[in-house]
């Protein structure tokens, strides 16, 4: 009986810690000065990104499929020229027909992603115990 009570107490304690931790992740943990809230156009662009399942082939911060390149900082490299890729249908990429507004929205989304940080990030300091300190750069 004592063991059952102990197990229940540990379980409840972990649940409470998990709820508290989740709250801090949602708020203070993910505040980022380089990543202000997306504007309306970027939000629409993000929905286009999802509707067309771009993450099946492309990554943001290394997360996504590996058939195409990572697009975290594609805007930094190509600026407005990024739009040229959207309807190109090169290689395995399907031939999309995004209109001008949709292309603008997608570009806004990629601008927001670019602004939020770098990937891959060479500005890191490795510590003796295996951790890395990430030095965040503002890409604006």
């Amino acid at each position: 009986m004592k063991e059952i009570k102990q197990n229940r107490s540990v379980f409840l304690l972990l649940i409470i810690l998990f709820i508290g931790y989740s709250y801090f992740v949602y708020t203070e943990g993910t505040e980022n000065v380089n990543s202000p809230e997306m504007n309306e156009s970027a939000i629409k662009g993000r929905m286009l990104w999802q509707d067309n399942n771009c993450s099946a082939c492309h990554q943001i911060y290394g997360l996504g499929g590996y058939l195409g390149p990572d697009l975290t900082n594609v805007y930094r490299r190509y600026k407005d020229g990024t739009k040229g890729f959207f309807n190109a249908g090169k290689g395995s990429m399907p031939k999309y027909n995004f209109n001008d507004t949709e292309q603008e929205n997608l570009l806004e989304f990629l601008k927001s992603v670019n602004r939020s940080g770098n990937f891959p990030n060479d500005s890191v300091i490795e510590t003796w115990y295996g951790d890395v300190e990430i030095i965040n750069g503002n890409n604006e």
């Binding site: 972990l14 993910t30 505040e31 099946a56 590996y66 395995s92 990429m93 992603v113």
Partner: protein, 444 residues
């Protein structure tokens, strides 16, 4: 009453095995599209094909684990499953949802997130299914059994956290989460990491149940050691998910806490080595199909834990993140660990129902066992090699080859991956088809 319960349980398992075969078939086609960019590009491009592969294989894991848990809890409670048609409604709902997911993907009505690309409205029937499962579990187990072995805790935790984490994975519909890139990506991968931990609770609970029943020794599932490892697993589920997001510029404490939590898994590695050296002396039940698959799981658990521990070290993660090494980690877990345990579970259930009904397939299943593990070893190794090559490319500075050139250089590894994937698919067919036949004959 028991026959009725088992019929629906077997339907869960049959649907799971069909999903596995179809999912692997879609996986093979996805692999072909990696090699031949124009292959089915106009009809079903990679962006759709990959999602068939992912959704069907996740369905395999969830349905096979669910079917198994239903079978085992109906045995734990002497009165079988709780009265009411919860299980039947659960099955009907998931059958219908499965069809809707495939339709959603086929008609490009996506809009969801990576791994859950189907229409986000399907969140509702899926979560309702988990709630029905939870009610059934509560009425069958929580109300009737007081001295819980650890697997009952694990199954309860799995169901509860599937509801929580699957809901968390849909928080992106709220502007507070959706409108910040960093918050959105972090919460997405927080939920995914914990969701995998949740279904692992269902599956590892199944493994412990099987071990204790096959050995005829319930002490494996009781006592301080069993609960220590359960709570260690739960801690990792809750706080150890962030190795997917180390590189994202969120607050450092998220990374440091996950790093520290993940390192506690060395304790599991240590205990496995000790347990192995002890089990070498035992010849117990070596001829049992379920036992054989469970033993093979041990090897993959060891390999994958070492890999998971290494990629949880931030300095190493910097090299492996965004490469095929991460895919090796997820394939190692879903195929090497989850699938082998779930095969063991289905073999065990069939053995309980009809002791000799798999005997006529003995040679075929023996061949498939070795084909499965040898082809998966090649599959896993080719992913590690491709990931290592990509990691080197990412780290290059100065005059580095283009993405396309790097992708081309990976082709030998990709060809090996697809060839071994084909052999793995053959092995799965050789196992799944007789299992489906036996389950169908038992459910009549």
């Amino acid at each position: 009453m028991e026959t009725m319960n088992n019929k629906t349980t077997f339907n869960f398992l049959i649907l799971a095995l069909v999903s596995l075969m179809l999912g692997m078939f879609a996986g093979l086609f996805s692999g072909m599209q990696y090699m031949l960019p124009d292959f089915l590009k106009e009809f079903l491009p990679f962006s759709q094909m990959r999602e068939f592969h992912v959704s069907l294989n996740v369905a395999w894991i969830i349905l096979a684990a669910t079917g198994g848990v239903y079978f085992y809890i109906s045995k734990e409670n002497e009165n079988g499953l709780a009265k009411g048609n919860y299980q039947k409604w659960h099955f009907r709902l998931y059958l219908l949802t499965g069809v809707l997911i495939l339709l959603s993907l086929f008609t490009k009505n996506m809009g969801g997130r990576e791994y859950m690309t189907y229409s986000p409205y399907l969140y509702f029937p899926i979560i309702l299914g988990w709630v029905l499962f939870a009610i059934n579990y509560y009425k069958t187990i929580v109300k009737n059994i007081s001295q819980w072995p650890v697997y009952l805790w694990m199954w309860m935790t799995g169901i509860l956290f599937m509801i929580l984490t699957y809901t968390e994975a849909h928080l992106w519909v709220l502007p507070f989460f959706r409108d910040s890139v960093i918050r959105d990506v972090t919460v997405q991968w927080k939920s995914y990491g914990a969701m995998v931990g949740s279904w692992n609770m269902l599956i590892y609970g199944t493994a412990i149940y099987l071990m204790s029943k096959i050995k005829g020794d319930d002490s494996i599932a009781r006592g301080k050691v069993a609960f220590f490892f359960y709570f260690l697993g739960l801690t990792n589920l809750m706080f150890g998910w962030a190795h997917h997001t180390y590189i994202i510029p969120h607050k450092a404490w998220i990374r440091i806490l996950a790093y520290g939590t993940s390192m506690t898994e060395w304790i599991i590695i240590g205990s496995m080595i000790i347990a192995w050296s002890n089990s070498l002396k035992s010849e117990q039940k070596k001829s049992s199909l379920a036992y054989r698959w469970l033993i093979s799981t041990d090897v993959w658990v060891f390999i994958n834990l070492v890999l998971a521990l290494l990629i949880s070290i931030p300095a190493i993660n910097l090299f492996t993140h965004g490469t095929h090494i991460t895919v090796a980690h997820s394939m190692g877990t879903t195929i090497g660990i989850n699938t082998t345990i779930l095969f063991a579970s289905i073999f065990y259930i069939l053995f309980k129902q009809c002791t000799f009904c798999m005997d006529k397939y003995k040679r075929q299943l023996n061949f498939a066992f070795y084909l499965f593990h040898s082809s998966f070893f090649v599959f896993f190794s080719s992913l590690l090699y491709a990931g290592y090559q990509k990691g080197l490319w990412v780290k290059m500075v100065g005059n580095k080859p283009s993405f396309t050139q790097m992708h081309e250089s990976l082709m030998p590894a990709i060809h090996t991956l697809v060839a071994s994937g084909f052999l793995l698919f053959v092995a799965v067919l050789l196992i799944a088809i007789p299992l489906i036949k036996a389950l169908r004959s038992q459910s009549k």
